[in-house]
């Protein structure tokens, strides 16, 4: 089943200076895709367009078969709350919330009560070996630990798709390999699709499909 499709998508920040155009892409449920490309080719912009954070200059983005161009900001926001997860290179944990509270944020924003979302957040963090660090603030966590909290936050609300922008860019090779393996495992476990933007060939190889972004679109 296709979760996300892009139909003839093109994007230009300045008119007639296309970052990419005529781009087609389909993401199946549970599929894992790596996107690579040279610096400045528009990988992050493409990820933003897929996640509904930016609107393409032309073309259509479909989410579960529904065109999203006519969606209101509220509908997009609701979709991000409930059906997407995000992982960033710089982790972006909220500095004054504990590890457990950080993981609970997507569920709370999605309208769940604190009581309902404490258990899955705690369980996920324990699965990731963070059971002793539940009440720690981000400033006291190592880079690897912070990224594990970020992974748990991306998956705690069982999203359909997880978007990761250079998720291992700030980690050493060993931790990066371990973190990526964890991300893939977690996505498999919850049958979530995964789209990773990365410069790392090793990271790309661990994904099911690798695409290169060029000005003519995504090349397999």
């Amino acid at each position: 089943m296709t979760v996300l499709s892009l139909r003839s998508v093109g994007h230009a920040y300045v008119s007639d200076e296309w970052l990419f155009r005529g781009l087609d892409f389909e993401l199946a449920q549970g599929e894992r895709v790596a996107i690579q490309g040279t610096s400045g080719c528009g990988k992050s912009t493409l990820l933003n367009i897929m996640a509904g954070l930016e609107v393409p200059t032309n073309g259509e983005v479909e989410w579960s078969g529904q065109p999203t161009s006519a969606w209101s900001a509220k509908r997009r926001q609701s979709c991000r709350q409930l059906e997407m997860g995000f992982v960033f290179q710089a982790f972006h944990l909220l500095p004054h919330l504990t590890a457990l509270q950080n993981v609970m944020v997507p569920c709370l924003l999605g309208g769940q009560s604190a009581k309902t979302c404490t258990a899955p957040a705690r369980s996920l963090l324990c699965d990731l070996g963070m059971d002793k660090r539940l009440d720690a603030l981000p400033s006291s966590l190592s880079g690897g630990e912070q990224q594990r909290v970020a992974l748990a936050r991306a998956l705690v609300h069982h999203p359909k798709v997880v978007f990761a922008d250079e998720p291992t860019g700030n980690l050493d090779t060993k931790t990066a390999t371990h973190t990526l393996a964890l991300l893939i495992e977690l996505c498999k476990a919850s049958d979530a699709s995964l789209v990773v933007v990365t410069h790392s060939d090793e990271a790309a190889r661990s994904m099911g499909r690798t695409l290169r972004l060029t000005s003519r679109g995504l090349v397999g």
Partner: protein, 844 residues
């Protein structure tokens, strides 16, 4: 209470924001509290004093429906019979004469017990001994409060001083209806005799028929050209309120200025929080938090500081009010309620309004930070090197020009309800215009400076500072907005106070030509003393010249405070010799007609429309209004409700009053003033109870009172400077957070720590020079509105502008030096090399 998930998250984040910046929050909260506290304390003390005054007057007036009073002096008691005959036709049920005698220890009311039983029964004493004591010539009945205050018991004798008279009376009983006020009641005939006021009464209390109203009676008397005036309770309340209203409103506006400067601190604190939280807010936006939810989060920070600050301010303000009333009674420096010890009366609706105003101010102060968030591109913020994404387009010059037009428009409006609301609005609009023009001003100045220095050889740090400021004026603006606002208010207040003080000092020089002064007015409405004292004092050794004059209250309007009539020797050939004229004298033409010349203070022009060279009516004679010629207007900083000056000869001819209330003595050179005073007191024992004071002491005392009245303004100037410095420190900290990566790069490129610090100092120094100069210009303009609009419309006096250049230089240099030092300190905290390296690591 069970919270929903996003509500809980909201609280977590709010708590996080506080934990992250609790010092800044506390400082902002303290400033807001100080503003509210001042407003609460000022209002509560004044409200309590007014309530106490009202209660006192209610007691002294009994339950009369209205009163008849004479515009000048007392009423002939032969009139009582006349009014008894007229009453039925005028709708008056009963007329009760009252003689009011203010003694050194309490107010004594002489009443006709039979008539008072109908008109004002609350003034009736409890009759012991079968009522025989009531008409005893020495019998005085005291209220419960008077018995306590004077520490006497029924049966004891007390001595009361009224002017030069000492009167011994016996406490014969109590006045149960006036328990809480310090008053005494006695038979009117006995009072006239005891206090040497035979043949006169102070007022006639009236009980009106059911169909008559005070307004109806006033209209009927006006139609009959009646000299006596009707005063009803609302008129009396308005008069009492007008007495101190301008002073109270000015103090309240000062408190509001404190609240406003507190608002700038809240804005700075919230702005800095937002700078720190911008990546968190962006992340929440990516994770699905709605824009309105995020906006609410920012509003909540400002609102929370405003509300908590407001509540703390009310609490501390009430405590302060209680302390002020304990130490100073009901007076806040204006001398309107001196010697009163009122009970605290809390005006809860006003307290609620102040908390609401503080909350709204907090919410309003979150507006600027909100404007700076680019909600549409949250991911952009999560990428590194996006400092500029926080700043939206700066307002253009047109908004500033619009605000200037608004200010000019408001300046054309007259006072509303006798208060300068439009002028206050004009000051606010002018301040707004100055702040809105800041980005434009910085752009123009910095571009110009950069162009001038392009071909000059300047150190790299200076060049970098200029480039940076020139390219990002919109970022520099928030750094100095608070400084410009606070400093301009400081300059405005400083110029106004220094102009006022200099004008008062010059005026004192003009009105205090003699060496020694005394006045019977100091002890209240005392009867005058004999005119013969002038000759007696003039005959004493070391006395060169003596002048005496009479000062009495003159009622010109039933609902306004009385004006002061001063009868003194006037030089009508050259009035400047005897009156501190504003403008030139316009004496009547020599056309053979005899005209009576008077001079009016500036308040007479504002309140009663007097113009020099015009004829007006004054109720000086018992025969009816007297036409007088206004020979000129003079400055009077001592009496804001109006003063009329006329020659002693004219006054005596019209009123028949030959007494004096003030003496001025010129001594020979080198005379010992203490010795002269002793000689006068020895020669004139009837004046021994009066205080003699030298011109130097009057001057010193007056300026001391002036400084006490403006103590609040001085405190506010200090607070405004603190706000300015705080906003510089907080602004620099905020900028450094945004620019950490920029400094990280400069560090990697080889810029030393000292050079980085110098770069920040250079930028801040340049900005502060612009801020101080711009704020001084704005403050100078605002001071002119204060001097030429607010003061004349509030207090009905003018003053000459006096720029305290020395003071201005001092606070400007202080501001710049401390501002740069604050910036260097903030830079040393924010430009730690370890943090700079981290900031570059996060780039991707």
């Amino acid at each position: 209470m069970k919270l929903k998930g996003h509500q809980l998250l909201f609280l977590w984040l709010l708590k996080g924001a506080f934990v992250q910046a609790w010092v800044r929050w506390l400082v902002a909260l303290t400033m807001v509290s100080i503003g509210v506290m001042l407003a609460v304390a000022i209002h509560t003390v004044n409200h309590s004093a007014l309530a106490s005054f009202g209660q006192a007057l209610d007691t002294v007036n009994g339950q009369a429906s209205a009163q008849l009073v004479a515009p000048l002096g007392d009423i002939d008691d032969g009139q009582i019979e006349v009014w008894d005959q007229r009453r039925e036709a005028l709708g008056i049920r009963s007329v009760s004469p009252v003689l009011v005698v203010r003694t050194d220890r309490l107010t004594v009311l002489g009443i006709d017990f039979f008539k008072a039983a109908i008109v004002s029964p609350s003034l009736l004493p409890s009759a012991s001994n079968g009522g025989t004591d009531l008409f005893n010539a020495k019998a005085l009945f005291l209220s419960g409060a008077a018995l306590t205050a004077l520490k006497v018991r029924v049966g004891e004798t007390i001595v009361l001083q009224n002017g030069a008279n000492s009167v011994s009376l016996v406490v014969a009983g109590e006045v149960p209806g006036a328990a809480s006020q310090v008053i005494g009641v006695m038979d009117i005939g006995s009072a006239q005799w005891a206090f040497k006021r035979l043949g006169v009464v102070s007022r006639l209390d009236l009980r009106l028929a059911d169909w008559q109203t005070p307004q109806g009676l006033r209209a009927a008397l006006l139609a009959q050209s009646e000299r006596l005036e009707v005063v009803a309770i609302p008129d009396r309340d308005r008069r009492m309120s007008l007495l101190s209203r301008a002073y109270r409103v000015n103090l309240s506006v000062l408190a509001m200025v404190a609240l406003l400067t507190g608002g700038f601190l809240v804005s700075t604190a919230v702005n800095l929080s937002i700078v720190r939280q911008r990546s968190e807010l962006a992340l929440l936006g990516v994770l699905g938090a709605s824009e309105s939810w995020l906006r609410r989060f920012v509003w909540a920070q400002g609102g929370l500081i405003g509300t908590v600050g407001g509540l703390c301010g009310v609490g501390i303000g009430l405590l302060l009010a209680s302390a002020l009333m304990h130490w100073f009674g009901g007076d806040l420096g204006g001398n309107y309620f001196a010697n009163t010890q009122p009970a605290m009366v809390i005006d809860w609706p006003v307290m609620a309004f102040l908390v609401l105003a503080s909350t709204l101010m907090g919410l309003g102060s979150a507006w600027l930070p909100l404007m700076q968030i680019n909600w549409l591109e949250p991911m952009a913020v999560l990428r590194a090197g996006q400092a500029e994404t926080l700043v939206n387009k700066a307002p253009t010059l047109k908004w500033s020009l619009l605000a200037v037009c608004l200010s000019i428009g408001l300046l054309q409006l007259p006072a509303f309800n006798e208060l300068p609301w439009a002028a206050y609005g004009a000051i606010a609009a002018l301040l707004g215009a100055g702040l809105l023009a800041l980005p434009w001003l910085l752009g123009v100045l910095l571009r110009g400076l950069s162009r001038v220095l392009t071909h000059s050889r300047v150190p790299a740090v200076v060049q970098l500072a200029l480039w940076r400021l020139e390219q990002a004026p919109s970022q520099a603006t928030p750094l100095i907005t608070g400084t410009v606002a606070a400093f301009s208010l400081t300059v405005a207040m400083m110029v106004m106070v220094s102009s006022f003080r200099t004008s008062v000092s010059d005026w004192l020089g003009l009105v205090l030509p003699a060496d020694l002064y005394t006045s019977s007015q100091a002890v209240g409405e005392q009867p005058g003393f004999s005119a013969q004292v002038q000759e007696v004092i003039a005959a004493l050794p070391q006395v060169q010249r003596v002048e005496t004059h009479r000062q009495v209250s003159l009622r010109l309007s039933y609902d306004r405070p009385e004006v002061v009539l001063i009868a003194k020797s006037l030089n009508l050939q050259d009035p400047v010799q005897s009156v501190a004229l504003v403008g030139t004298a316009k004496l009547p033409p020599k056309d053979g007609q005899s005209r009576l010349v008077v001079f009016g203070s500036e308040a007479m022009a504002d309140l009663y429309g007097w113009r020099a060279g015009q004829e007006v009516s004054l109720p000086l004679s018992t025969q009816g209004p007297q036409r007088v010629w206004v020979g000129g207007l003079f400055r009077d900083y001592a009496r804001q409700h109006g003063t009329v000056m006329m020659s002693t000869l004219d006054y005596e001819r019209l009123t028949g009053d030959h007494s004096r209330s003030n003496v001025s003595v010129w001594t020979t050179q080198g005379a010992d003033l203490g010795e002269v005073t002793s000689r006068i007191q020895a020669k004139l024992p009837e004046l021994s109870h009066l205080r003699w004071i030298s011109a130097g002491d009057v001057r010193q005392l007056s300026l001391k009172i002036f400084d006490r009245s403006f103590a609040m303004t001085y405190a506010l100037e200090a607070a405004a400077l603190f706000v300015a410095l705080f906003s510089v420190g907080a602004g620099v900290t905020g900028q450094l957070i945004l620019r950490r990566r920029e400094f990280g790069v400069l560090a990697h490129l080889g810029m030393s720590e000292e050079d980085r610090s110098r770069l920040v100092s250079m930028e801040v120094g340049l900005l502060l020079i612009v801020a101080v100069l711009w704020a001084s210009l704005l403050g100078g303009l605002m001071s002119q509105i204060l001097i030429h609009k607010v003061n004349p419309e509030s207090f009905h006096w003018t003053m000459n502008t006096h720029f305290a250049v020395g003071q201005w230089l001092m606070i400007s240099v202080l501001m710049m030096v401390i501002g740069v030092l604050t910036a260097r300190w903030a830079a040393s905290q924010g430009l730690d090399p370890r943090r700079l390296s981290e900031s570059l690591r996060a780039d991707w």
